[in-house]
């Protein structure tokens, strides 16, 4: 039987507020355990939550960016369950009335556009962390993360492959970082997701039984986890078995999912409106004000890159996927006095390769946009060739300074003195009589190939510094 995969994602995105969602404690990552947990975060008796309005503003920005309904009135509810890193015995979340309602976002997989529905996005507080290592027979609790604001973005079950799920997750990641509402740092857990996966015979309308995959904190893992789960479910279904509705934990080390709890073991969270907090009321004026302040979003930027810089749809898509990359590109173009296509090629080629190789982020690239732009200017003004530029780039990457300095230090300036070049051309011709003979006796189309030999010889003689155009011209004339 042919099976169709159905996927919905719940993305937990940590909002970039300075203080927690219901207390004044700092949200800075990496502090010593329990140093950023105040009485409210510790759930001490008598203390009360006070909503950080900035978190609401950020949630609304997200809602506006995905064309969603923003609730005029949304309500915080308590999700009740016991766990040692959940100090109050309940998590403050939104249940029946979330701040962001139905919206949508476009993704692109293999050049095909697809709209993915967003069911809702709601605000909630994060829990703390339990540490099982380093404590003999005990569990450590770190409540620094408790009370950190999260936006949980729930999609419709609109995705049909792991690739679509990845594209969707990347698109949401791109959006929240563009909006500046999250740092999107996946290593630190600022952006993670749960995936709901089910299969159904192709053509079937009703959904199959789903499982929920927890603990996915990278784009690579989301793909692996889903593909694995699809295979597991398919094996069961092909054997005539049925899927148990359950929560499964993805283990990236073993590349497998394993059961955490079944539906029967699931908690009854006993949601009810939190009586300590008033409903969140959002008036039209705030919406209008926030709408007018929204930054240029990825899709708009992509179109502008195509229109203004004449880039291809593909290149524009790559360059605008990350706001930092798009900013890098635009700064680079400015420093290079135009030459957008050349800038794009260098960023997507040499720079990306170097970043990948050294596992660096664009924001801490040793070669700044301005440095790259200045180097590209030296290509266009014929100071160096594209080939020599690669050496210059490596030099900049390794901290040898900017392009001009490396060109002068290493003596990489292109040889464009035609007198000197002419002498070298003459020498190459006289040194290689056999090849000259062959060239001269060949038809024109073959000559184009044979000239490469002489160009090569000349480049060798000049350590690549000769201006290739000039060399070509001279050779053709002299041969």
């Amino acid at each position: 039987m042919e099976w169709e995969t159905v996927i919905g994602l719940e993305i937990h995105c940590q909002l970039a507020t300075r203080s927690k969602i219901f207390s004044g404690a700092s949200t800075t990552y990496g502090a010593p355990p329990n140093t950023q947990a105040c009485a409210v975060d510790l759930g001490l008796p008598g203390v009360l939550p006070v909503l950080n309005r900035e978190a609401v503003t950020m949630a609304i920005k997200f809602g506006l960016a995905v064309d969603a309904d923003i609730a005029e009135r949304s309500v915080f509810a308590r999700k009740n369950y016991f766990y040692p890193d959940l100090p109050k015995g309940y998590q403050i979340s939104q249940y029946e009335l979330p701040v962001v309602g139905r919206g949508h976002i476009d993704i692109e997989v293999d050049g095909t556009l697809k709209t993915i529905g967003i069911t809702r996005a709601h605000l909630e507080e994060d829990a703390g962390k339990s540490a099982h290592e380093g404590f003999a027979d005990r569990t450590g609790i770190d409540l620094n993360r408790a009370g950190t604001p999260l936006l949980e973005i729930v999609s419709e079950p609109d995705m049909r492959s792991a690739a679509e799920a990845v594209a969707y997750m990347k698109k949401i990641h791109s959006l929240v970082t563009y909006l500046g509402i999250s740092d999107g740092n996946m290593q630190e857990g600022s952006f993670r997701c749960d995936a709901n996966v089910s299969l159904r015979p192709r053509g079937e309308e009703t959904f199959g039984t789903r499982t929920e995959l927890k603990n996915i904190n990278s784009f690579r893992f989301v793909e692996q986890a889903i593909n694995h789960e699809v295979e597991r479910q398919m094996d069961i279904l092909e054997d005539g078995g049925s899927i148990i509705q359950e929560t499964r934990l993805f283990d990236p080390d073993r590349n497998e999912t394993r059961s955490m709890r079944t539906k029967e073991e699931a908690n009854d969270y006993r949601y009810f409106p939190d009586p300590d907090l008033l409903p969140v009321v959002v008036d039209r004026e705030l919406l209008v004000a926030l709408q007018s302040k929204l930054p240029e979003l990825p899709d708009q930027k992509r179109q502008r890159f195509m229109d203004d810089y004449g880039l291809s749809r593909y290149d524009s898509g790559v360059l605008t996927a990350q706001r930092a990359l798009a900013d890098y590109f635009e700064n680079c173009v400015q420093s290079a006095d135009g030459e957008a296509k050349l800038c794009a090629n260098w960023i997507m080629g040499e720079l990306s390769a170097a970043l990948n190789r050294d596992d660096r982020d664009i924001s801490n690239s040793p070669v700044t946009a301005d440095m790259l732009g200045q180097m590209i200017k030296r290509i266009t003004d014929n100071t160096i060739s594209g080939k020599i530029a690669k050496q210059v780039f490596e030099g900049m990457w390794n901290g040898e300074g900017n392009a001009d300095r490396i060109i002068s230090d290493r003596g990489l300036k292109q040889m464009s003195d035609s007198g000197e070049l002419e002498k070298l051309v003459d020498k190459v011709i006289s040194d290689n009589p056999q090849q000259v003979e062959q060239y001269r006796n060949s038809p024109e189309d073959k000559q184009k190939k044979l000239i490469g030999f002489f160009v090569g010889q000349l480049m060798k003689a000049t350590a690549g510094k000769a201006n290739p155009q000039q060399v070509n011209e001279l050779l053709r004339r002299k041969l």
């Binding site: 001490l44 008796p45 309940y90 009854d268 300590d276």
Partner: protein
């Protein structure tokens, strides 16, 4: 001195007829003599109190005073106090010292009051007799073997017996008014949101409200001046223009429209208590009030609605007592589940566990609509009943409780009979209205309380009515014989 009201003591301090140190020593002596009988205090803080008293006298010498400066007081042991244990009447918090002061504590400290200790209460404020306290029952100063009411029973008994001129209380379903009635003192439950809940250990967050328990309405007004006010740390606190609650105390009551809810004068009201209430209403008439009957048609639904909403909220509010971070922890837990189960089984008393179970049940999947949502609908009906009533009358008057104090142990085996002690008080909490109980007479030597219910933020009006009533009656002046 113990016979005097807070405002009289305030005058004595102003006129330097007495110092705060002397006053404080006086009440410490009374606590030492009488508290072993009454058990109205869980913690007495003699040294800290004397220190605060000396500081108050120093402030007086520098003329940095409020009318409350140097007056001894006690907090119900539900208000968090830094440096003083806050037990909430529970074994669970027997070892708990909060690293912060409740806003109410902070404000009364700033006003210069002297904290003599923390008063006994039903465990986590759940009870109407003070019998659920981990620290033992409080005796009603008017009669041995009788309950003082609850949950602010310790505060009520201490004020009634003259161990302290004023104590704070909290009222979730009647916990200020009912013990005030049963002990013959003045108790005010403000409008929900007028007094900050920050640092007040939560029982049922949408109903809890702190207020003063005093010897007179004038005293209540003086204290409310320093308890009320917007608090940015409590999202449910309300921004209201600050007013001086003593300003209108003496206004005359000519033309005051008093409504008597038929539903409060039914067969559940003891006939002798009804006579006392009737006499009190005649006094209001003498002061110029016109009396009429009104309807609160859904009043009979208030107890069932209350006993869904309050337990539902408490079941969640009390989840934090898990033995992980503070408070009681069971000995040698085998694993996490054992830690939770034994800590909570051993740390909470029966009534608290009963309410956690009721609340957990009411919020469970499949029951939520039938219980919690239905109760919230009733709540809106009750609010509407009051709203309708207040279009016709200025104040609603009736008994605070169906009967006077009952004997210790009489109702502990029958929770529903205990819950019915609050039948006239809970609807006020469900509606969020302000209400008072003031002494109105006696039945068989036990005090009877008159309840005054006002519209939202009409505390000033209630205090005015209560004060005028107290200018022509002396029920609030009585002190039980054993404590004279």
């Amino acid at each position: 001195m113990y016979r005097q009201t807070l405002s009289e003591l305030s005058d004595a301090l102003v006129q330097k007829r007495i110092s705060s140190v002397e006053l404080t020593q006086h009440f410490i002596d009374r606590i030492n003599i009488h508290n072993p009988v009454l058990n109205s205090f869980i913690t007495v803080t003699v040294d800290a109190a004397m220190e605060q008293a000396r500081a108050a006298d120093a402030k007086r010498a520098r003329d940095e005073t409020t009318p409350l400066t140097g007056i001894p007081m006690a907090h119900k042991d539900i208000f968090c106090t830094s440096d003083i244990r806050t037990s909430c009447g529970s074994k669970m918090l027997d070892n708990f010292i909060a690293p912060y002061d409740a806003t109410v504590v902070e404000q009364l400290n700033n006003a210069g009051m002297v904290i003599l200790g923390k008063t006994n209460m039903d465990e986590f404020a759940m009870g109407s007799s003070n019998e659920t306290s981990y620290y033992g029952v409080v005796t009603n100063p008017w009669k041995d073997n009788h309950v003082p009411g609850g949950s602010s029973g310790g505060s009520a008994a201490a004020v009634a017996a003259g161990l302290i001129p004023m104590a704070t209380g909290t009222d979730t379903g009647g916990s200020i008014r009912q013990p005030a009635a049963l002990c013959g003192i003045t108790g005010l439950k403000p409008t929900y949101g007028l007094v900050s809940r920050y640092g007040m250990i939560a029982f049922a967050s949408s109903l809890d409200q702190g207020g003063p328990m005093t010897r007179s309405a004038e005293d209540a007004a003086l204290v409310l001046n320093h308890m009320a006010g917007f608090d940015p740390r409590d999202s449910t606190s309300v921004e209201q223009p600050a007013i001086d609650y003593t300003d209108n105390l003496d206004n005359d009551l000519d033309g005051l429209k008093v409504g008597l809810p038929k539903q409060y004068f039914n067969e559940s009201l003891d006939s002798e208590v009804a006579v006392v209430i009737d006499n009190a209403i005649r006094e209001l008439e003498k002061l110029g009030a016109t009396i009429s009957d009104i309807e609160l048609p859904n009043a009979h639904l208030s107890i069932p609605a209350y006993y869904v909403i309050a337990p539902a909220e408490c079941s969640s509010n009390l989840s934090r007592y898990d033995g992980v971070r503070f408070g009681y922890r069971c000995d040698k837990p085998r694993d996490l589940l054992d830690l939770y189960c034994r800590t909570r089984a051993e740390g909470f008393g029966r009534e608290v566990k009963r309410r956690i179970m009721i609340g957990t049940y009411a919020l469970s999947a499949g029951y939520y609509d039938a219980y919690y949502l239905k109760a919230q609908q009733i709540r809106r009906l009750l609010q509407q009943d009051f709203k309708n009533a207040f279009t016709d009358v200025d104040v609603i008057v009736g008994p605070t409780t169906p009967d006077v104090a009952f004997s210790i142990g009489e109702r502990t085996e029958d929770p529903v009979s205990m819950y019915l002690s609050d039948i006239f008080t809970v609807s006020v909490n469900l509606a969020g209205l302000p209400a008072m109980s003031i002494p109105a007479g006696f039945k068989n030597g036990l005090p009877v309380g008159l309840q005054l219910i006002g519209n939202y933020f009409q505390e000033s009006r209630l205090l005015n009515i209560a004060h005028r009533f107290q200018t022509i009656t002396d029920w609030h002046r009585r002190i039980p014989e054993a404590f004279q």
